[in-house]
């Protein structure tokens, strides 16, 4: 198994600032916008962006929720073990809000498909956008593309993209792992 660095801490930081600025361009004061981190790994990215928007760009009252998609996945009973759920934490109604889904890696698009179904349990959003740190090309199973992307990566199917966060994994880095 070999791994190479796709993004180091500095590059991740630059990408995060750019993504934050792109969000501000489209959502201004975030008055009608809510951020939704997709469990489990989209939550770290979502928290980072929220902190950046608040501390660096002085945007207050950013609403952030966590969405767990386990019960909406289309591969239930196709894997050996039961799918393990995470916490959903959405303390607001998304009715008529602009929703931004935040996830670390966009791969087959199936997670986002599930998230699109899951979010409907919390109301009818005005619109939904997708932000991912890594967009893996050539691997989509569904017609889903990100609106904001940190870096586009060409990875073949047997490779794995791993996003590490300081608060969880001890460092900020994105690795391409060859199995």
């Amino acid at each position: 198994m070999s791994q190479k660095v796709l993004l180091n801490a500095t590059e991740i930081n630059i990408a995060l600032h750019r993504l934050a600025c792109q969000l501000i361009e489209n959502h201004d004061t975030f008055e009608d916008t809510v951020l939704i981190g997709i469990q489990p790994r989209g939550v770290f990215l979502a928290e980072r962006l929220k902190r950046l928007l608040q501390e660096e760009y002085k945007i207050q009252n950013i609403r952030l929720g966590y969405l767990d998609i386990t019960f909406y996945r289309d591969d239930f009973r196709r894997s050996d073990k039961p799918l393990e759920a995470n916490k959903t934490k959405i303390n607001f109604i998304v009715e008529d809000q602009k929703v931004v889904f935040i996830d670390d890696v966009l791969y087959t698009g199936r997670s986002i498909r599930s998230a699109l179904t899951a979010i409907q349990s919390f109301g009818r959003p005005l619109e939904i956008e997708l932000l991912t740190l890594i967009d893996r090309r050539f691997s989509r199973h569904l017609p889903i593309q990100p609106d904001y992307r940190g870096r586009q990566v060409d990875a073949i199917n047997k490779e794995k993209v791993k996003v590490c966060w300081k608060e969880n994994d001890g460092e900020d880095a994105v690795y391409l792992i060859e199995k």
Partner: protein, 312 residues
Amino acid sequence: MSELSVNHLLGIKYITEEDIHLIFETADHFKEVINRPIKKVPSLRDITIANLFFENSTRTRLSFELAEKRLSADVVNFSAASSSVKKGETLIDTVNNILSMKVDMVVMRHPNPGAGIFLSRHIDASIVNAGDGAHEHPTQALLDCFSIRERLGDVAGKKVVIVGDILHSRVALSNIFALQKLGAEVKVCGPKTLIPKYIENLGVEVEGNLQKALQWCDVANMLRVQNERMDISYFPSTREYAQQFGLTKKVLDSLDKEIIVMHPGPINRGVEVTSDVADSDQAIILDQVQNGVAVRMAVIYLLASKIKHHED
């Protein structure tokens, strides 16, 4: 992630402590789901569940049906009163007929102890025991323990007294197994005639005095007096039972600590508990009902994840 050690939920006796914790953690997520504006997830779209009730039930059946529907399973209902059981069909034949219509899971209540275990040896579908005679009622015990955990943080180390008709109660037996597996201490309290002879063999102490039992416990589970199962008189009168083993607000207030009052329902108000107790803050009877749906969703979800339609 771990999975259940069993393919059927036939009784608490047959599952492990880890299984119970897994069910609770899964139920936590479903409790969040059923408090959403839209209380439904599509997980079990391709699963069909038959609810076979060979004995009357209102809330258990309703609770199972809601749990199944909130997981998006297809549900068919069957009750013995209107079935061919009356015409002399055997249990296996009845169930096999239903299964040949492609049912994946069976939730069954039956008046005979061990009916679920018997069935599990003869058919392919997953079986959930929703009460078999005076044997077990596992989902009730799970939701009782889940409610204790929710209110007190943990079940381990807690003292629980089960009051009333222990002899005819499947709820009591399942509760004793579940509470002990989770590390709680259990006592039973009730008229001598309604305490099974060898109950001490289960590691359960018997206390004849309600006041003493309540003084000892953190949680009092007040069981229903099951008149329909009593073929002879086990106590002189309902009034006398209520005086000795009924929980009143006066008794509750006389204790030096605040205990939790549970009841599996349906309540005979004025017999097991008085109205002011049933409606007090210390009673978690309605929490039990709400948690019942979440816990049953968890059980069905975890059992369903072991059914494989797709060989890949």
